[in-house]
C-alpha cells in the first residue's frame, strides 16, 4: 500500500512523549551534575573556611583590646591634626612652589626613564646586529658600519642617562625638602601602620574568607559554581605528588598522588613554638566556635600528632615529600571517606562509621589504611634497623609497639623457624632477622659471596650439644612436654599437650603418641650428646653455700637472673633460676654439688660456645686471711643446689604399639609400602647397611644390614628413629644447638614479605568455626571467642564505655580482640596471625581427622599476652619486602649508625642490666625563688667551670609549664622543672608531716633555671630537695636496675647506709662515657676486661662478643655523647703541645731554669697526694688507715684509657663528674701552699701538669723513673680537703671490696693491704668458721 497522509502514531501523543523524555534527559543531566558536585570534601572545605574565619575573629578580638582601640583613636586624632596642619603649611607661598616643583620634577624623571627605556632597546638591537655580523663573518667594512651604528646609539643613551641622573638628583633634593615639612605627619602614619600591623594582617586574612563587600562575596560564591570552579577556585583538590615514592598498583609501579589534604587541610599547620595549631580532640558540639573556644578539633580538621616528627616542614617527614599513604596506606587518590579506604580500629567503630559515612570494607583495594593499632607497622618500610624506632634521643620511642614486636621476636627467636631475610640480592628490603651461620662452611660460603650478608642472631635456646652432662632424660621429657609447668616464666614454647581443638578421644590418643615422641626426643638428645670436660673445684674444696648466696647476690648474677632466695629483683634477661637445683645433674659421689653447674657458672662458653652468658671471672682467690682459698663458682653452685632436693619428674610410659605405629607411619612417608614398613617394625630387619641409608632411617639400620634381634636394642632404635623424626618435624634445632642438626633448614614460612602475603594463601581452615564454640580459657567468663566479641560490641553500642561500665583498659583489650576476630572472619592477615599466636594448633580443628598424624600443624604455643600478640602482629604486618626509593630509606650517618648498632648490642648483651645509660629524670614543681644556684667556692677553678660547661653544656631545666598549687593555704603558680640525676633520699615512710616528706635528688647535669641574667645555674653534684607534693613525675633511668638494687643492698650490708660508698662498689653509670674514655681502650676493654677499680664488689664480665661488636659498642658511647670517634688525639701526648706548654710556662715564670715541664709535672703527680689512694710510680698503695682509705684505680692505665679533657675536669673537681666519688678536690684554687715550689704553687697549672703527667705516664716512668716528691712546707694534705665538702666520703667506711673482687693480679697488691682493707673481714671469717 502506498504511503498516505495519515500518521501511524498520534502526533500529539508523540509530542507529549518527546517532551516528557526530553524533560527526563534534562533531569538526568542535572542529577549528573549535582552528583558531580556532591563531593564529600566540599562541605568539609567550606566548614574549614568557617573555622579559619572563626579563628581570625577570635584573634582579631584579642588584638582589638580597649587599650588598642584607645591607642588607635589617639593616633588617628594626631594624624588628623597633623594632616590639617600640613595642609595649611602646604598652602604657604614658599611651600606651594616647592610642592609644585616636586610634581614637575617627578614628571620629568618619569618621562626621561621612559625615553631611556626605548633608547636602550634600540641600542641593544644595534649591538645584537653587530654581534650577528661578526658571527656570520661579514666583511670588515660591514661590521665596522654596524659598530658605528651601535656607538651612535650608545652615545644617545648616555646623553639621556645623564639627563635622567641630574633630574633624579634634583628630585631627591626636593623630596628631602618636602619631607622635612611632612615629617611629623609621616611619622605618625608610620606609627599607625606599626600599631595596626597585626590587625591589618588578620583582617586581610579574614576578609579573604569572608569578603566584606557584596561584590567580592558574590565573586567568591561564583567561584564555587560548577565548571567555573575548575578555574582555581578556593574549593579544590589538594594534591601531594611524590614521583619517586612510587606505589604498586597491580603490576604497575606508579607515582604516588595523595589527595588526603583535600579534607585534612590543617594536618601540617603549627602554631608558634611548633605546637599543633589544631590539636586533635573531641569537642562538645559541631559548632566551630566551640572548637575554637575548647581548642579541640575533630578530624579531618585537626593537626597531625607529633608535629615535631611528622608532616611539618621542619620535621623528618614533611608532608610535601612523604605524602600520607606511604605511612598510612589507603588510597591516596581517593577524595571521599570510602575511597580513601579508611580502616576502623575495631568493629564498633566500623558500625559508627557505617552510620556516619556509609563505611564498608572494600577488599578490592589491597592496601587499605592501617587501623590505628597498626599505624606503626608501616614505619618498618623505611626503618629497617628498627632500633631508632624504639630508642631515639631526639624523639623518644616513636614506634614503641612495632619495636616491642621486634624485641619479642628476638626474645622468642621466631626467626629460628621463620626466616626474616632483610636482603634481596644485596638490597635491603626490611629488618634482617636471621640466625648466624651454624657451620664453618656456611660462614665461608657467605663470606665469599659479595651479595650475601650473614645473619647476626644467635639461636635463642641453650645448646643441647652436651646435654647429657647437664640433666636427665626424665627432666627433658617432663620439661619439653609443658615447659611452663616447671618454670612458669619460661620463654620456651609448648609443643605438646595442646588439645583444645581435639575431641576427647583424639586428645587421649594424641597424648599416647606424644609420650612416645617425648621419649624419642630425650633418647636422641642424650644419645647424641657429646662428652665434655667439666671443670671441678680444687680437690678437697668445701663449698660454702652461705658465702655462695652473698657472692650470688653481689657478683652480678642478678643483673640477668632472678632467684626466689634473693627476692626483690626483676631482671628477666636470663631465666628465673629458683628451680635450677631440681633439674641439674648432680655429682654421683656428692649430691650436694654439680660439676656441670660449676663449669657453667665459671666458664659458660665451655658448655655453650655461643651463649650470651658472660664469664664473670669467678676464679678462685685467697681469702682475707691469706690461707683459705675461696672458689666463688663453687660456692654459688653450692648455694643454688642447697635450695632443695633434685626434682622427681614423672614421665609417661611408652606404648610399644603406638611406637610401632609411629615408626611404621614415618617409614611409609619414606619409600616403604605399608606391608614393608610393618614387616620392618615387626622383624627388626631394616635390610640395608647403615652406610647406604640417607636420612633418619639410619637409626634403624645396622652396619652390615643384619637384623636386630635384641628386643631392647630394637626398641631403642625405634625410639631414636621417632625422636629424630620428631626433632626434624618440630624444628627443635631452630632454637637449640644440636649435634647432627647443624645444617637443618628452618621449618616455618619465611616472614620477610608476610605483611603483603596473599590472603587466599592463608590456611584458615575451620578456625572460625572453632572460635564460634571455643577459644576462651575454660571456666572463664565466656564460652567462646564469638560470645566474648559479641558481648564486647554489644556493650560498646550500648555506650557502656561512655557510662564508665568499662574501664579504658577493658575497652582497649576487648576491642582489640573484636578487631582481630573480625579480621579473621574476613580472612585478613591480622586475624590470622592473632589466632596463630593465641592457639597455633586450633587451625587443625576438625582437620586432624582427615590428615595424617605427621601432617598436623607443628607451631608451638608461646606464652604471649594479648598485647604482646598485637605488638608482634604490628611488626610482622610491617614486613612487606617492598622498600621505597633509596632516598626515603632511613640511612643513619656514621654517628647515628654506631649509636643504633650500639643500642642493639646494649640490649643483646644486657649491658643495661648493670649500667645506667640514661639517667633517671625527675619532674617537680618549684617556686623560682626557691631555686638555689650552685655557689662557686673559693676552692673551685674558673677554668674548671669553663671545662665543665664544655663537657656538660647547660640544659634548660624549666619546661615552661606552670601549674597551680596550694602552698600554705595559698594558691600559687609553680614552675615545672625537669632534672637528670639520681634519687638520693626518699621520704621517710613514717613521717606524717607532708612538709617534711622530702625527696632528695642528686643532679648530674648542668641545669639552668630560666634564661638571661636572672637564670640560676646548678652544677652537677648539686642536691635538690622538694616535698612529696611537688613531685610531678619520676622516670626511672634506662638500665642499671641491678646497680640500683645493689646500691640499696650494699647500704644495708656493707656501707652502713652510705649511698656514695655503695655506688662506688656497684657497676658505674655510663653517663657521658663517650667523653670520658678513649675509644680504642674501650674496644680492648670490652674484649678483655681488666680489673679497673678496687672499690667494686664485682668485676666487669667478659662477654661473648665479636671484635666487630666490641668496636661498635666502643664507638657507641662516643657517638651518643657527640664525642670524637673512633680515634682521638690526646694533645698532652703530643711533643709539640708539650714544647709549647713549656715555653709558655717559662715565659709566664711558672718554670724556673733547669726545670722541665714534664719533670715538674711528674713531681706533682708523685707528690704526697695521689699516692695516698693510688698505686703510682712504682709505689704500691699503702693502707695507713683501713677505715678511711680507699684504693683508687691504678693510674698507669689513665694514659690509654681516659680522654685528656675529661681527666682535667676530673682533677679540677671530681664531684662535678661523679657526685658520689670519694676522690677529693686535690688542687683547690685557694690553696697555693700545697706544692709551693711547683709551677709557682699555682693549683690551676698543677692540675694541667698532673693531667699531662698522667697522660705521659709510661714515658715518664721510662725517662725519669720512680720519683718521690715532698713539698718543702709539709702542709698536711688534709688541709686541702675541698672547701665545699662535696666529697666527705674519705671519712667513711670503705666497702668490703677486697674480699669480693677478683684478686688475680694480687702480685701488684700486697696481701696485707687486702686484709686491712676489708673492714668486716672478721665477720666473714666468723661466718666461715661457723660453717666449718
Amino acid at each position: 500500500m502506498p504511503a498516505n497522509d495519515t500518521y501511524w502514531w498520534n502526533q500529539k501523543t508523540l509530542n507529549i512523549v518527546f517532551a516528557l523524555s526530553s524533560v527526563a534527559l534534562l533531569l538526568a543531566v542535572i542529577v549528573m551534575m549535582r552528583k558531580d558536585q556532591d563531593d564529600e570534601w566540599r562541605p568539609i572545605q567550606r566548614k574549614n573556611f568557617a573555622l579559619e574565619a572563626k579563628l581570625r575573629e577570635v584573634e582579631l578580638a584579642a588584638i582589638e583590646s580597649d587599650d588598642f582601640k584607645a591607642q588607635k583613636t589617639d593616633l588617628q586624632a594626631k594624624i588628623d591634626s597633623a594632616a590639617a596642619a600640613l595642609k595649611t603649611t602646604k598652602t604657604e607661598a614658599k611651600n606651594a612652589e616647592l610642592f609644585a616643583s616636586l610634581d614637575k620634577q617627578q614628571r620629568e624623571v618619569d618621562r626621561l626613564s621612559e625615553e631611556l627605556k626605548s633608547l636602550n632597546g634600540l641600542r641593544d638591537e644595534a649591538r645584537a646586529k653587530y654581534d650577528l655580523a661578526i658571527s656570520v663573518g661579514l666583511p670588515k667594512e660591514a661590521t665596522s658600519q654596524k659598530f658605528s651604528d651601535f656607538e651612535a646609539r650608545q652615545a644617545v643613551c648616555n646623553e639621556t642617562q645623564a639627563l635622567l641622573d641630574s633630574a633624579n638628583a634634583a628630585l631627591a633634593l626636593t623630596i628631602d625638602e618636602t619631607k622635612r615639612i611632612t615629617k611629623e605627619h609621616d611619622e605618625l602614619v608610620a606609627a599607625m601602620d606599626k600599631v595596626t600591623k597585626d590587625e591589618s594582617r588578620v583582617r586581610a586574612a579574614l576578609e579573604k574568607i569572608q569578603p566584606p563587600s557584596l561584590i567580592s562575596s558574590m565573586k567568591r560564591s561564583l567561584m564555587e559554581m560548577p565548571i567555573i570552579d575548575g578555574f582555581n577556585s578556593h574549593l579544590k583538590i589538594v594534591q601531594d605528588w611524590m614521583p619517586n615514592l612510587r606505589q604498586t598498583l597491580g603490576m604497575a609501579k606508579i607515582a604516588r598522588f595523595d589527595r588526603c589534604r583535600t579534607c585534612h587541610l590543617n594536618i601540617d599547620k603549627t602554631a608558634t613554638g611548633g605546637f599543633p595549631a589544631f590539636p586533635e580532640g573531641h569537642p562538645s558540639d559541631e559548632d566551630v566556635a566551640t572548637w575554637v573556644s575548647e581548642n579541640k578539633f575533630p578530624q579531618p580538621y585537626a593537626t597531625h600528632s607529633n608535629t615535631e616528627l611528622f608532616c611539618t616542614a621542619s620535621s623528618p617527614h614533611p608532608v610535601e615529600k612523604f605524602g600520607c599513604t606511604i605511612c598510612h596506606d589507603g588510597q591516596g587518590s581517593g577524595t571521599s571517606f570510602g575511597n580513601a579506604e579508611h580502616t576502623p580500629d575495631n568493629p564498633h567503630l566500623a558500625d559508627v562509621w557505617h552510620e556516619e559515612y556509609g563505611y564498608h570494607a572494600n577488599h578490592f583495594w589491597e592496601y587499605p589504611m592501617q587501623p590505628t593499632r597498626f599505624a606503626e607497622s608501616t614505619c618498618i618500610k623505611c626503618h629497617h634497623g628498627m632500633t631508632e624506632l624504639g630508642v631515639n634521643p631526639e624523639f623518644g620511642a616513636t614506634a614503641p609497639k612495632a619495636f616491642k614486636g621486634y624485641q619479642l621476636i628476638q626474645k622468642y627467636g621466631c626467626f629460628g623457624c621463620h626466616e626474616i631475610h632483610g636482603q634481596d640480592a644485596g638490597v635491603a628490603i626490611g629488618p634482617d632477622l636471621r640466625i648466624e651461620p651454624q657451620t664453618a662452611e656456611e660462614t665461608a660460603r657467605i663470606a665469599s659471596d659479595p651479595t650475601q650478608v650473614a645473619g647476626k642472631f644467635r639461636k635463642v635456646g641453650p645448646s643441647l650439644r652436651h646435654i647429657a652432662s647437664k640433666t636427665t632424660s626424665s627432666w627433658i621429657q617432663y620439661w619439653t612436654e609443658i615447659p611452663s609447668r616447671y618454670r612458669p616464666t619460661t620463654k620456651m614454647p609448648q609443643f605438646f599437650d595442646q588439645f583444645e581443638h581435639l575431641s576427647e578421644a583424639d586428645a587421649a590418643h594424641t597424648k599416647t603418641l606424644e609420650t612416645v615422641e617425648l621419649a624419642g626426643i630425650a633418647h636422641v638428645l642424650l644419645g647424641n650428646s657429646q662428652p665434655i670436660d667439666l671443670l671441678k673445684p680444687t680437690e678437697g674444696y668445701t663449698a660454702d653455700s652461705e658465702r655462695g648466696k652473698k657472692l650470688f647476690t653481689e657478683r652480678g648474677c642478678l643483673a640477668c637472673h632472678q632467684h626466689g632466695a634473693v627476692p626483690g629483683t626483676t631482671a628477666d634477661f636470663g631465666p628465673n633460676i629458683s628451680d635450677i637445683h631440681q633439674k641439674v645433674k648432680r655429682n654421683p659421689d656428692n649430691p650436694a654439688f654439680s660439676d656441670w653447674l660449676y663449669t657453667w657458672i665459671r666458664e659458660p662458653q665451655r658448655y655453650h660456645a655461643r651463649t650470651r652468658m658472660p664469664n664473670l671471672y669467678l676464679d678462685a682467690y685467697m681469702d682475707v686471711d691469706g690461707t683459705t682459698s675461696i672458689d666463688p663458682a663453687a660456692d654459688i653452685t653450692a648455694f643454688l643446689l642447697s635450695q632443695g632436693a633434685p626434682g622427681d619428674f614423672p614421665v609417661g610410659e611408652v606404648d610399644t604399639v603406638e611406637l610401632d605405629n609411629l615408626v611404621s607411619l614415618f617409614l611409609r612417608k619414606g619409600r616403604f609400602s605399608k606391608e614393608k614398613a610393618e614387616e620392618i617394625v615387626k622383624s627388626g630387619a631394616f635390610g640395608m647397611k647403615k652406610a647406604d641409608v640417607v636420612g633418619d632411617e639410619v637409626a634403624l639400620a645396622t652396619e652390615d644390614g643384619s637384623p636386630i634381634t635384641d628386643a631392647a636394642e630394637w626398641h631403642n632404635r625405634k625410639l631414636e628413629f621417632v625422636g629424630r623424626k620428631t626433632i626434624s618435624r618440630y624444628g627443635c634445632y631452630a632454637c637449640h644447638d644440636m649435634p647432627g642438626f647443624e645444617t637443618a633448614r628452618p621449618i616455618g614460612v619465611a616472614l620477610q614479605d608476610w605483611g603483603r602475603k596473599d590472603t587466599s594463601k592463608l590456611g584458615f581452615e575451620h578456625v572460625e568455626e572453632f572460635l564460634h564454640h571455643h577459644g576462651e580459657p575454660a571456666g572463664g567468663k565466656f564460652s567462646s571467642t564469638l560470645e566474648r566479641v559479641e558481648e564486647a560490641t554489644r556493650a560498646m553500642s550500648a555506650g557502656q564505655d561512655k557510662n564508665g561500665d568499662m574501664t579504658p583498659e577493658e575497652v582497649d583489650r576487648e576491642m582489640s580482640t573484636a578487631f582481630f576476630f573480625e579480621s579473621l572472619q574476613h580472612h585478613g592477615r591480622p586475624g590470622f596471625i592473632w589466632q596463630k599466636l593465641r592457639g597455633p594448633r586450633t587451625y587443625d580443628f576438625e582437620k586432624t581427622e582427615t590428615k595424617g598424624y605427621d601432617e598436623r600443624l607443628r607451631m608451638p604455643k608461646f606464652p604471649l599476652k594479648e598485647d604482646e600478640i598485637e605488638a608482634i602482629a604490628t611488626f610482622v604486618l610491617g614486613l612487606i619486602a617492598e622498600p621505597p626509593a633509596p632516598q626515603y630509606i632511613y640511612t643513619p650517618d656514621e654517628r647515628a649508625k654506631n649509636r643504633l648498632e650500639g643500642e642493639f648490642l646494649l640490649a643483646k648483651y644486657n649491658c643495661t642490666g648493670c649500667h645506667v645509660v640514661d639517667l633517671p629524670q625527675v619532674t617537680f614543681a618549684t617556686k623560682l625563688d626557691d631555686i638555689t644556684a650552685t655557689e662557686m667556692t673559693p676552692a673551685d677553678h674558673e677554668n674548671g667551670l669553663a671545662m665543665l660547661l664544655k663537657l656538660r653544656p647547660p640544659h634548660q631545666a624549666l619546661t615552661g609549664e606552670v601549674r597551680p598549687y596550694v602552698v600554705d593555704d595559698e594558691k600559687v603558680s609553680l614552675s615545672i622543672a625537669k632534672l637528670h640525676g639520681f634519687i638520693a633520699s626518699k621520704p621517710d615512710p613514717e613521717e606524717e608531716d607532708p612538709e617534711l616528706r622530702e625527696y632528695g635528688f642528686d643532679v648530674w647535669e648542668t641545669a639552668d633555671f630560666g634564661t638571661g641574667d636572672t637564670a640560676k645555674r646548678q652544677l652537677p653534684g648539686h642536691k635538690v630537695t622538694f616535698t612529696e607534693k611537688m613531685l610531678v613525675d619520676y622516670q626511672a633511668g634506662r638500665g642499671g636496675d641491678f646497680a640500683e638494687w645493689l646500691v640499696e643492698d650494699l647500704m644495708k650490708t656493707r656501707t652502713g647506709g652510705n649511698r656514695s660508698l655503695a655506688w662506688q662498689a656497684s657497676p658505674p653509670p655510663l653517663y657521658q662515657e663517650g667523653f670520658k674514655v678513649q675509644t680504642p681502650w674501650l674496644y680492648q676493654f670490652l674484649l678483655e676486661p681488666t680489673k679497673l677499680r678496687y672499690t667494686t664488689v664485682l668485676r666487669m664480665p667478659k662477654f661473648n662478643m665479636s671484635e666487630k661488636e666490641a668496636q661498635t659498642l666502643a664507638n657507641y658511647f662516643a657517638a651518643v655523647d657527640g664525642a670524637e670517634f673512633p680515634y682521638q688525639e690526646q694533645a698532652p701526648k703530643d711533643a709539640e703541645y708539650l714544647a709549647a706548654r713549656e715555653t709558655d710556662l717559662v715565659h709566664e715564670g711558672f718554670l724556673k731554669d733547669g726545670e722541665t715541664y714534664l719533670g715538674e709535672s711528674w713531681k706533682a703527680l708523685n707528690g704526697p697526694l695521689c699516692v695516698k689512694c693510688h698505686s703510682l710510680g712504682g709505689r704500691k698503695f699503702k693502707v695507713s688507715d683501713p677505715v678511711k682509705d680507699i684504693q683508687g684505680p691504678n693510674l698507669n692505665v689513665v694514659q690509654n684509657r681516659l680522654r685528656a679533657d675529661w681527666v682535667k675536669l676530673w682533677l679540677y673537681k671530681p664531684t662535678w663528674i661523679t657526685p658520689y666519688t670519694s676522690m677529693p678536690l686535690n688542687y683547690p684554687k685557694n690553696n697555693l701552699t700545697q706544692f709551693p715550689d711547683l709551677f709557682g704553687g699555682d693549683p690551676d697549672v698543677q692540675v694541667t701538669a698532673t693531667r699531662d703527667a698522667l697522660l705521659n705516664y709510661t714515658r715518664l716512668m721510662e725517662d725519669i723513673g720512680p720519683t718521690t716528691y715532698a713539698p718543702p712546707a709539709a702542709t698536711p694534705v688534709d688541709g686541702a680537703t675541698p672547701a665545699d665538702g662535696a666529697a666527705p666520703a674519705v671519712d667513711a667506711v670503705p666497702p668490703d671490696a677486697a674480699a669480693a673482687i677478683d684478686q688475680a693480679d694480687s702480685s701488684s697488691f700486697p696481701p696485707s693491704a687486702k686484709a686491712e682493707l676489708s673492714s668486716d673481714s672478721s665477720s666473714v671469717a666468723a661466718a666461715n668458721g661457723d660453717n666449718k
Binding site: 534527559l25 538526568a28 542529577v31 598498583l249 568493629p347 560490641t793
Partner: protein
Amino acid sequence: MLNPHPDLTASVLIGLGWYYLILFGMNLLWTFRSYKHDGEFRNGVPKASFWAVVTAVLLMTSAYHFTYPPDGFLIFMPLWFKNFFNAYFSNPVLYFFLSVGGLVFMIAAREWWIKPTVAWVLLNLSLLFMGLSLTDYDFRQIVGKPDNVPIVAMLFIVAFFTWIYFKRAVDNDRRMDEGRPLFEQEDNEKVLVWPDLVYTELICMVVVTAVLIFWGIALQAPLEEPASSMKTPNPSKAPWYFLGLQEMLVYFDPWLAGVVLPSIILGGLMAVPYIDFNKLGNGYYSFKQRSFAVTTFLFGFLPLWVALIVLGTFLRGPNWNFFGIYEYWDVHKVEAATNKNLSQFFWENLGGIPKGSGALDILLRESPGILLVLGYFFALPPLLGLTVLRTYFARMGVIRFLVFSNLILWMAILPIKMLLRWSFSLKYIVGIPEYFFNI
C-alpha cells in the same frame, strides 16, 4: 559487622519492599486488564478477583518489608529449600539437561505457555522466586553485582522475545491451519519515515540516553583491584557476552574454544542464508513451516549460548568451580578433575600407552582419536545424507549439504564433548600436547 554474610539487613528489606511494591503495581494493572478481558469463573465470580487477591497480598508483603526489622523477619527463602537447591541443582550436567529439557518443553508446550495468563503467572512466579532468593546473602552477591545486573535483565528480555516469537508463530500456524490470512498480511500498514520512524527513533535515543545516565548514577562502575599478572582475580571471567565461549574452555583446548569454534559460529551464521532452501516462513512468524531451522537455532542460542552465559556468570565461582545459587563462593572448594584422554582409555587394556616422542609414536598413540575425529567429520556427513537427512541431501546438493552437515556437526561437538566429559571423564579425544594440538 560481626556477621560477615548477613542474609537480612535493613537495607535489603527496604529494597525488597520497593520490589514488591512494583510487583503490586504490575499486578494491579493486570487485575484491571483481567477484569476487562478474562471473564468469570463458572460460579460467576470475575476471574480478576484472583488477581485482586494476589495484588492485595503483594501490597501487604511490601508493607511488611517496610515495617519489620531484620530480627525475626518471616519472609525469606527457607534454609531447607536453599540446601536442597544447592545440593541437587549445583552441577553443570543437570543444569545443561534442564536447559535442553526446558527448550524441548518450550517447543512442545508452546500452545500453552503463550497464553497471556500463563505467561503472566510464569513471570510472577519467576519474580517471586527472585524476590525470595534475594533474601540470601550469597545469591545477592552474585546477582547484585553491578555488572551482573544486565544479565538478570537479559534473562527476562530473552524470555519475553521468545514468548513474542512463539505467540506470533502459533497464531500464524493456527491461521494457516484454519485458512485465515496471516497476521502480518492483515496488518501491513506502511508508515512514513517522518514522523513515524525518525521521530520515534529520536525519542528512543533520548529515553535510552536518560536511562543510561540514571543507571550510571545509580549503579557505580564495578571497579575491582588493579590488574596484576601476579595475582589475577579468582574467578577470572571474560566479559559477560563471552562467558558462553569461556564455558567451552572447560571442555576444549583454547585454540578450539577460543579460535576455531567462534570462527565457525561467525562463518556459519553468515552461511545460513545460502544453506537455507526452505522458501516458506519468510517475512512472517511461523513455527510449523520452519520447525527444523527454529529448533536448531534455539538449541544453539538458548542452551548453548544464553544458558552458558548464565552458567558462567552466576554459577561459576572461584577456580571455575560450579556453585549453587545460594552457595558461598569459597575458594577452598575443590572438585575432582581427573580426566583422561581417549588414548589412555584405549591403550589401558592393550598394554599401556605407546611411549616415544617421535611424530609416528604420537600418531600411533593418538590414532584412535584421530580416526574417530576423521570419521566424525568425513564419514558421518555422507552417512547422514544417505540416511536420516536424505531429503535435505536431495534438496541441497553435495556442497551445500556438506557445509550444512559440518556446521551441524560442529555445533553438536560441544554437547557431545560435554556428555563425554561427564560420563567418562574424557579429557581430549586427540591429545597431542607436544604440538599444542588437542581436540
